[in-house]
Amino acid sequence: MRLPPSLSLRLAMLYTMLFTISVLLLGGALYWATVHTPLQAVSLQVEREMSALSREYLERGRDALAAALELRAAGGDARMPFHAFIAPDGSVVAANLPSWPREQQSGWSRLEADYYQNGDEVDHEALTLDRRFEDGARLLVGRDIEDIDEVEEKLLAAVSGLLVGTLLLGLLGGVLMSHAIGRRIGLVTRTARRVMRGDLSGRIPLRGTADDFDQLGATLNEMLARIEALVESVRRVSDNVAHELRTPLSRLRASLEELRPAQVVAGGAAIENAIAEASALEKTFDAVLRIARIESGRHGAEFSPVDLSALLADAAELYAPAAEERGQSLQMEVAPGLRVAGDRDLLFQSFCNLLDNAIKYTPVGGWIAVRAGLRAGGVEVAITDDGPGISDADRPHLTERFFRAAATMAEPGAGLGLSLVAAVARLHGATLAFEDARPGLAARWSMRSA
């Protein structure tokens, strides 16, 4: 049996099982004391009587046994004696049992021995021993065990009632417990999700009861406060760095641009080269800051409904001339009307980066395919190319900042394009996977549809 995933429900089931076992043990002990032991005593008595009566028959014959049975039946024992003595020819010599099985039973049996007393039927049950002699005569000897039988019945009824009650209470308790615990854990889970989505001010609500969950919540809240403070200080640093570096970069560019006319007169390209280097530096700097910003969950632009089909068409259209220039075919298989919630500019930039990469690394004359459609309640976009792909060793590092596969070192770029794509994917709760498309690379982006 597979157990349900909820720990509290599993614990409740375990407890129910333990309670059931204790009820069964208790019932067993009671049965031993009130049923098994008295029955044992009766069977000993009946065995002794059987051996005495058998000896009587074997040594002194049928009449002596009949007399002994009469005598026994008249005796004043608390347990009413029962017997039946059948001659080898099948005739009943003596009997006070109302009925017995036609065939001889091996060993012990319990026989109905109801009889009438003053016109009322009195229930009796006899524990009897059945014996057949070598000459064919048959002797049944028994003692009344009606009282033990009644105790047994009541005990069984009581124990089964208890079992049902235990199971019902256990299950009810389990459901209640699992609800109560589930609610507390749900609060923790929801808060954690909220923080993961970027709302660092999220805290777990406490009950003020100082119970285990409150203690856990308080500890986690302290941790969240610490994380928030750290992120805040990183943000402040990155803002300061941004401002403190951008202003001198602006001055540098201003100076270089003012030198430009002088160089036009003097000839040479040093200033132009310096301006180009400054531009590249600015771009790298901007990309790093942007990725950091997106990853800190602080990208404030709220999500809005985005027509992903139109956005992909725009991206493909933007890159169509680039692909054409390299003799590549750019294929589009995008289902119409795919809608997601997101940041339009960032999504566009991400798909453009993926396309840009595919075009850059696919050889002249290759193909790039953009496919998008609904998959299992979400939207999946796959950008596949038939380029050389990427080695298994490099694949896990693709989205690392400044990572550049050895084979692509010759191409321009800082190795930030895919890091940005990965950051945007995380911001949107999308999964981004790079797969071997044999021979090319497939970038697979899946996210919830709106």
Partner: protein, 226 residues
């Protein structure tokens, strides 16, 4: 044109003043926000270039005050906070355009000139014309002299934007923002490829090329005599 520059960094301000001055514009410079606000209220300008981070005051606050007072002068926000959400905040506060620091002077100049003149309006019949090129905005057709030119929807929009801003330089970033309506940095010459296709169609066998490249900056359609 008269342009107001509100910028606290002396080095950047001097550069902007010089760049705008060289292009033939009159620049008033204010180094702090309060002074800038007073200046903007006292005189009429064709455009305001406003730094986002000023000592002691957020540039956006100045912008909101200005807009609340009913001043509709086009404003270009300059900011060292160059991210997309900062841009959105700037435009929401009433800014008309946004430029991240550090910027190329040519980009700033192009944006200020386009902002201040707000583009050429089409005639009532939806026609835009420059030299022998005529665009019919209703019929979505383009003619160069007697020759009819077939353009894709995107090429049509690029041409329309260039013609509406004829005489003013349009940068690649401006094209991406206004024609594709996405705000991002493609990091490659992707826009050039689109313009070069458009140019092949528009300027093929024409004696005078209409779309001119401004090296390192962007494109311009120059009217005859300019």
């Amino acid at each position: 044109m008269r342009i107001l520059l509100i910028e606290d960094d002396a080095r950047v301000a001097a550069h902007v003043c010089k760049g705008l001055g060289d292009a033939g514009h009159a620049v008033n410079h204010c180094a702090d926000g309060r002074e800038g606000l007073l200046c903007a209220a006292a005189q009429r300008f064709d455009a305001i270039v406003l730094d986002r981070l000023l000592p002691g005051v957020d540039g956006l606050k100045i912008l909101r005050t200005l807009r609340a007072a009913g001043d509709a002068t086009p404003v270009l926000i300059l900011s060292a906070l160059g991210d997309v959400d900062e841009r959105v905040a700037g435009l929401r506060a009433g800014g008309d355009d946004y430029l991240a620091k550090p910027f190329a002077m040519s980009e700033l100049l192009a944006r200020v000139e386009v902002l201040a003149r707000r583009g050429t309006a089409a005639a009532a019949d939806g026609r835009l014309a420059v030299m022998d090129l005529e665009i019919d905005l209703f019929g979505r057709t383009v003619r160069r002299g007697e020759r009819r030119i077939e353009l894709t929807a995107r090429e049509f929009r690029i041409l329309e934007y260039l013609v509406r801003n004829a005489g003013r330089v349009v940068t690649r970033a401006m094209l991406l923002e206004h024609v594709w309506e996405y705000n991002f940095d493609p990091q490659t010459n992707i826009i050039d490829q689109h313009v070069s296709r458009l140019r092949q169609k528009v300027d093929r066998d024409a004696p005078v090329p209409l779309i001119q490249t401004v090296r390192g900056v962007g494109y311009v359609i120059r009217q005859a005599g300019q």
